[in-house]
Amino acid sequence: MRDALCSEKEQNMNTLPETSGKAPVDLVALRRTVRRLERGGGTAPERVLATGHASLDGLLPAGGLLKGRIHEILGAERTLEGAAFGFTAALAALLQRDAAEAAGQILWVRQQSGSVRGADISGRGFEAFGIDPGRVIAVAARDAAELLWGAEEGLRCAGLAAVVAEVRTVDLTAGRRLQLAAEAGGVTGLMVATGYRAGKAVASAAETRWRVRPAPSADPFRRAVWALDLERSRGGLPASLTVGWSLAEQRFVAADPISIPHPGTRPKTRVPALQPNLFPKIAEEIAA
């Protein structure tokens, strides 16, 4: 408590005189301080999740993803596209690893009504992603209202590391409500929204909003690659970058192909970049 007060005071003292000097950076910090004070959470220092990816963290004014806020991750509605879920799962894995042992639960809320069509979360997949499935509470809501209710209840429960909600869209009112709940509970909310068309600007109450598209990877099953568009970042600027996620080490890595041989087991048959004219050769290789 005392630490928090000190840092607050320090921050105030630091930012105020320096605004004249280094305007852009300190203005951002000042704005954040003011916003924090406005919301009545003046004494709590902001908690940040550093993603460990230098350029990704560099895009965010806080030097990482702010905890206790809502982050929206937009993806395509097509069932076969897992990029947005992948990026979300990566952030959830980092949040779970970052949380204390007792508070590492993840609430994963999705909507399921009647016949389930399409792909659903998988414990084995979480395991491969570095999320402990034993500390995941999976909730199947009947409709959108129930889903938002579940997410809000989760966000208010400080025992969770993160709340992941699979939504189609979030309107501004619901978004604000969730944001307030996240601030009250201090739980990070990751909203995977698959109902937004690319290129359509929508108002949002979230701290950040990412659009995630899959990108071809040179080593696709050990390193996932996603093209990220940071469409909105409070106090920051929109940006785009491509990141990789190492499935072996469960951390963000550079997207470029790295020529370091992977320590994991090699598959029996390896078929690199199939080209139609290469097929006879491949066939030989398989036969061999």
């Binding site: 097509r78 069932t79 076969l80 596209e81 897992g82 990029a83 879920f85 799962a89 508070a103 639960q105 399921q112 792909a119 659903d120 979360i121 998988s122 414990g123 084995r124 997949g125 395991e127 491969a128 992603f129 570095g130 402990d132 499935p133 034993g134 995941v136 509470i137 999976a138 909730v139 199947a140 809501a141 009947r142 579940g150 209840e153 429960c157 400080a158 025992g159 969770l160 598209r213 899959p214 990108a215 071809p216 990877s217 696709p220 099953f221 996932a224 690659v225 996603w226 996620w245 499935l247 598959p267 029996k268 048959t269 078929v271 690199p272 970049a273 199939l274 097929f279 066939a283 398989i286």
Partner: protein
Amino acid sequence: MTIHRPQDLPGPQELPGIIDRFPVSPHKARPLQRRKGRAVGRGMAGQTLGVGGEAAQFEILARRYLAIALPRFALERLAPYHPDVASTPYALTTDQNGRRIVHAVNAAAEALGVRAGQPLTDARAVAPMLKLRAYDPAGEGKALDKLAQWAERYTPKVAVLAPDTLLLDLTGCAHLMGGERPLLRDLAARLDGFGLSHRLAAADTPGAALAVSRYAVEPVTLVESGRQREAVGDLPVAGLRLPPATVDGLARVGLTRIGQLYPVARAPLAARFGAAVGTRLDQVLGKIDDPLTPRRRPPRHRVRLAFAEPILTLESIQEGVRRLLGRLCERLAADGRGVRRLVLTAHRVDGAVLPLAIGTSTAARESDRLYRLFHEHLDKLDPGFGIEVMTLEAPATDGMLPDQATLDAADADRAETETGPLADRLVNRLGSERVTRPEARDRHIPEQAEAMVPLDRSSTGSVVPWAVGKGKVRPLRLFKSPEPVEVVAMVPDSPPVMLFWRGTTHRITAAEGPERIASEWWIEKAPPRDYYRVQDAEGRRLWIYRDRPYGGESEPRWYIHGVFA
């Protein structure tokens, strides 16, 4: 007086029904009546004390029972659905050896001379206009049970004696209604309101209450404590709940009144008519125990709240639940218990009984936390014309350590950092099967290698621990059931180059595999699957498989099973 009741009811003196048969001492409305008992000769509590002889005097709790006999229940219960039952001659019939027999009649039919047990042809002869219905014992049983549930507003211990009698254990409960007399008056008024003819009797023993209710001249009788001997003396022997053959046998030797049995020597009586006569007699007189079997075991933790005026608004219901929870949680704390299940029962003015149950994942007795679980559902509780009584009981409790005083202020909101209350709220609103946790199984086939298990249920099947970050590369999202997909492959036994799925074409640029996964031979005999990981031109990474190897009897098919990130 907190009980709402019609104000125009006459007082005890004016009400013709209630007769004090043997007023020795003025009836006192004390919560617990005590009287002197002796260890010897009393089977009830005396046995535990062993041989104390005449000297071992101790106080036993005078039990009080109320019998509700409903002589015309079979017919009157139908009145709300069939208005004719109340006005026109009406009878219920049963089939007996191919003949139709009158089982029950209403007052109008009885006035014409129709009797229960008559063949229908005879009944038709005296009452040609007689309306008929088939007797439905199952429906009657259900209706009586519903009435018994309603009667739990007076006491938690209600026994159902089919087909038409209820027995209430009033011990320690009458004071809630201001004593037995007001309770009887209230009960009689309500039964009148339901249109049920009734005969009520309160006495020290179930046997006496039943006999008096069934055979006394007055419809409502209050037998003072310890006066059952005089009360049942004039009643017919049939009141002893004996088999009809025994009653007939006793009548043949001139024993028709219960009082006539008092001086008769027991040994010859038992030799001729069996031990039952003596046993029943002793039970009626309270010399040996006559346990009552309640329709359900009353939970140890139960609180009740009666309202001066029936409540209608959501706010008052919420306040009522809060108060009940506060009282219940105090008792739980005193007993070192926490609830796992709670049932709130609202008794409506119209006699409807509305239960509302919640469950918790761990023992809990924080009234705020429990209230939040009810809060979601209270708006679904339809108060109708008002709720008169609410009860809250805990059918399932677990041991729970006493609350620990917190030294640190930061500890005060420790409860909020636990996920237990969150899980309870989710389960109570969404249902158990919608709040789950993934569990690993020791199986090869991917859709069987894990299961979603309800959070509040223990594991079923062989559970294996998760190996976080060390498992095989598996897709983040899995199809519940693999979906068939069309493929183009250059050589039959190679990964596909094109994939057609739901109207879209995916050109495969990279593939890895096959990984052969077969189900365990001792569990299921199915062909092994060859899994490939593929990436399409846009970077979508998918998990597909061929359901059998090439070269078998049937052509293999391709399925899409999962989506990598």
